[in-house]
């Protein structure tokens, strides 16, 4: 049984098919990149996988359970327990310090635990910035806080939408290194990106075009 399976997923807005009959599988520990031009439906798909939206047609199986017909409330619970989210705009709470931002995620999941949150920041190399506010951190550092927050509750799947979209080359490499490390630790990663450099470090790349899955490329350069 796959960790995640999309079966004939469509998302229809009026007469626009943002997703059109998309099917694929993600196994536990996979590292998948999703590419495609703007408006091809990447974010729409992430919303559905991330339990923030429901498909118009088709099934989403997470751990074998169909989540496409769940209520908003149980989707919230599934998202909280199984999904870690990394955003292009980081979305840190601006009046909370780095470590507190990580603890927000713990708060909704179980119990805030500062030690654990600090350990998560250490994993992304930000231990000495723990007490800084987002405004006192660089973009790369903010993204690492966002990653630490996504990882804190040991999600089954980490979803990243353009994680390096707002970062420079050096910070992009730091984030890629963190992803590599996560992959070695067995984390399942789905990364939406425009950037071929970010895509080619993944195991395989799914390419979306006009809401359809155009092709799937297994990355020849992938090193485990």
């Amino acid at each position: 049984m796959s960790l995640l399976e999309l079966k004939n997923i469509s998302k229809i807005y009026g007469d626009l098919k943002a997703l059109d009959d998309v099917s694929f599988k993600v196994e536990k520990g996979d590292w998948v990149a999703i590419m495609g031009p703007s408006g091809s439906g990447k974010s729409t798909m992430m919303n559905i996988v991330g339990c923030m939206d429901k498909p118009s047609l088709g099934q989403v199986l997470l751990d074998g359970a169909d989540i496409s017909k769940e209520s908003d409330k149980s989707l919230t619970n599934i998202r909280r327990d199984k999904i870690g989210l990394i955003f292009q705009q980081f979305h840190l709470v601006n009046y909370l310090t780095a470590v507190e931002n990580v603890m927000v995620s713990q708060y909704y999941h179980s119990m805030p635990d500062e030690k654990e949150a600090l350990a998560a920041l250490e994993r992304v190399g930000l231990k000495d910035r723990a007490k800084h506010l987002p405004s006192q951190l660089s973009g790369g550092e903010q993204q690492r806080v966002c990653i630490a927050r996504a990882l804190i509750n040991y999600p089954e799947i980490v979803l990243a939408d353009e994680p390096t979209g707002n970062l420079d080359e050096a910070n992009e490499n730091i984030v890629i290194d963190i992803f590599k490390q996560l992959h070695r630790e067995g984390t399942t990663l789905i990364v939406v990106t425009h950037d071929p450099e970010v895509a080619e470090v993944a195991q395989r790349t799914l390419v979306l075009e006009h809401g359809r899955l155009a092709k799937e490329i297994v990355n020849p350069n992938f090193k485990d």
């Binding site: 909280r80 955003f87 979305h91 909704y108």
Partner: protein, 361 residues
């Protein structure tokens, strides 16, 4: 947020201030009203009742000392002055002064026996002035034609203006009256001025009638009725103003909270994306709102008392008593008003779509 806090604090100030005044107005106005004279009459319970000063003292003991503004016993007799038939009223001058503060005396009140105060119309008829002397002759009703009766001379210390029938009387002390007529202490009526509402007065009247059986106590309906009407209107006004202010507070808080929710839409979306349930979001915003309400209410209760005190000082010239009950009441109402005001904004917070965090904005 600060604006909302301010709005709540102001609302609570008005609330607690007006409620304090609301409670205090009857007391304050009661004292004011007492300027308009007696509101209770004591009369003999029966024709042969022992209605004397002792009975009155006994009746007075049934009234809380703090509430009793004045008590004036009266004994009326028909006398003649310069061959004119005149009514002489004997009273306790201090009591009369207290019970009828609106009486205006040209000159001075009598302070000792042998002194009298003459009503304005009577003074005009007799042609007496302040400092003059009047000879009062008393004859018993069944006296013979040639009986000269008893005479007593009084120095007139003042001319009384009341706008009422009192202006036809001459006022002397009870002792002088007793010496002149030998009336033996039996009084005709006693006027009490008591600082109390109509219902309280009725209770006091009932109490007096049981405490001293010789006395029958009645309310001066004309006075108590109009007092009650004025108070009811005033309290209705206070209630109306308070309601309007609370409504405005609610609108202000609701608007502010709406703005806060709009401003924090992204954060709300993020929190939801991180797994916050709607209940959790509601709890957070409501908690914040209610805290705001509680704090604002507390502030307002303090300011409100100061406000009420200032109003009371300016309007009634007397200080106000702090009522502890108003503190929790104000806080409670503030919390309730804030809670109500937060309902709509909080609802809109739960409507935020967590997916917005993935939208490139």
């Amino acid at each position: 947020m600060l604006v909302a806090l301010l709005a709540i604090a102001i609302g609570a100030t008005i609330l607690s201030g007006l409620v304090t005044i609301y409670y205090d107005v009857p007391r304050q106005m009661g004292a004011q009203f007492r300027n308009y004279g007696a509101n209770m009459l004591l009369m003999p319970a029966s024709a042969d009742a022992d209605f004397n000063e002792e009975a009155i003292e006994q009746a007075k003991s049934a009234v809380n000392k703090d509430l009793l503004v004045g008590a004036a016993p009266y004994r009326y007799e028909s006398v003649t002055i310069n061959d004119q038939p005149v009514i002489a009223a004997a009273t306790n001058m201090d009591g009369a002064k207290a019970a009828s503060p609106y009486w205006y005396v040209n000159g001075a009140w009598p302070t000792q026996n042998g002194e009298a105060m003459v009503g304005k119309s009577l003074a005009a008829v007799l042609g007496v002035k302040e400092g003059g002397t009047v000879s009062v002759i008393y004859k018993e009703e069944d006296a013979k034609e040639d009986d000269k009766g008893k005479t007593a001379d009084f120095t007139v210390t003042g001319i009384l203006e009341t706008g009422g029938t009192e202006e036809d009387y001459i006022f002397i002390s009870l002792e002088d009256m007793s010496a002149l007529t030998g009336f033996g202490g039996r009084l005709d009526v006693a006027e009490l001025s008591i600082s109390a509402s109509k219902d309280e007065l009725q209770a006091i009247a009932d109490k007096i009638s049981t405490v001293s059986p010789a006395v029958s106590a009645r309310l001066v309906k004309r006075v108590t009725q109009s007092e009650t009407t004025v108070l009811t209107k005033l309290q209705a006004l206070v209630f109306l103003v308070t309601s309007v202010v609370l409504l405005l507070t609610m609108i202000c808080v609701a608007t502010t909270m709406m703005a806060v929710v709009a401003e924090r839409r992204k954060e709300i979306g993020l929190r939801k994306a991180l797994g916050a349930s709607n209940a959790g979001i509601i709890g957070e915003f409501m908690g914040e709102g209610l805290l705001l309400g509680g704090f604002g209410g507390l502030l307002g209760a303090g300011f409100g008392f100061a406000f009420a005190q200032a109003v009371s000082m300016n309007v009634f010239n007397s200080s106000i008593s702090f009522r502890f009950i108003i503190l929790p009441l104000t806080v409670l109402v503030s919390v309730a008003v804030t809670g109500l005001a937060c309902l709509l904004p909080v609802r809109s917070a739960t409507d935020v779509d967590p997916a917005l965090v993935l939208k490139g904005e």
